[in-house]
Amino acid sequence: EDQVTQSPEALRLQEGESSSLNCSYTVSGLRGLFWYRQDPGKGPEFLFTLYSAGEEKEKERLKATLTKKESFLHITAPKPEDSATYLCAVQVVNDYKLSFGAGTTVTVRA
């Protein structure tokens, strides 16, 4: 059975304090790994797709990387507006659906 585990569950950061979120996965054949941001009471907002080990993608203060077993979301010099829950999801080969981790809730204090 496909499994996606995110750590830590919660992360409290001071503004400017860089950190990383982890998403480890066990799947039969990875097609893609996806990162989403979710604000309270709203639907997830798509951030990145990673398809192969070694791939990296960046958007503003966020950088996502992928290995054969896990993905990291690095937040560089975070600001309070980066506070959100970050979700990762995996899609396996020849399948339509995404399987999600439970998320990491990031709080950035000014």
Binding site: R31, F34, G41, G43, F46, A89, K97, A102
Partner: protein
């Protein structure tokens, strides 16, 4: 921009009622999904559809059914609402495999409370 629209942001229904949650997408996506999200459990897939009139059960289909009569519209039906179906419901859509990137785009969510 892809737009996925859910018909209600908040709903309050009574136990035993039949409940319809509607979702419409405007990007000609083949795939549509219904998830529910509960604290500590993450997003769990209820049903998905890869074509009109086609549907497949997800991980937690019990107590739910779906309808997809048109490509852009996917409905989730709670046949007889129960309190354990109180949750945030999220609809999503994506392109078919082979047509491009297959990330899912989500609606704003429907917070359903069953009393």
């Amino acid at each position: 921009d892809v737009k996925v629209t859910q018909s209600s942001r908040y709903l309050v229904k009574r136990t035993g009622e039949k409940v319809f949650l509607e979702c419409v997408q405007d990007m000609d996506h083949e795939n549509m999904f219904w998830y529910r999200q509960d604290p500590g459990l993450g997003l769990r897939l209820i049903y998905f559809s890869y074509d009109v009139k086609m549907k497949e059960k997800g991980d937690i289909p019990e107590g739910y059914s779906v309808s997809r009569e048109k490509k852009e519209r996917f409905s989730l039906i709670l046949e007889s609402a129960s309190t354990n179906q109180t949750s945030m419901y999220l609809c999503a859509s994506s392109l078919d495999l082979g047509r491009g990137d297959t990330e899912a785009f989500f609606g704003q969510g429907t917070r359903l409370t069953v009393v």
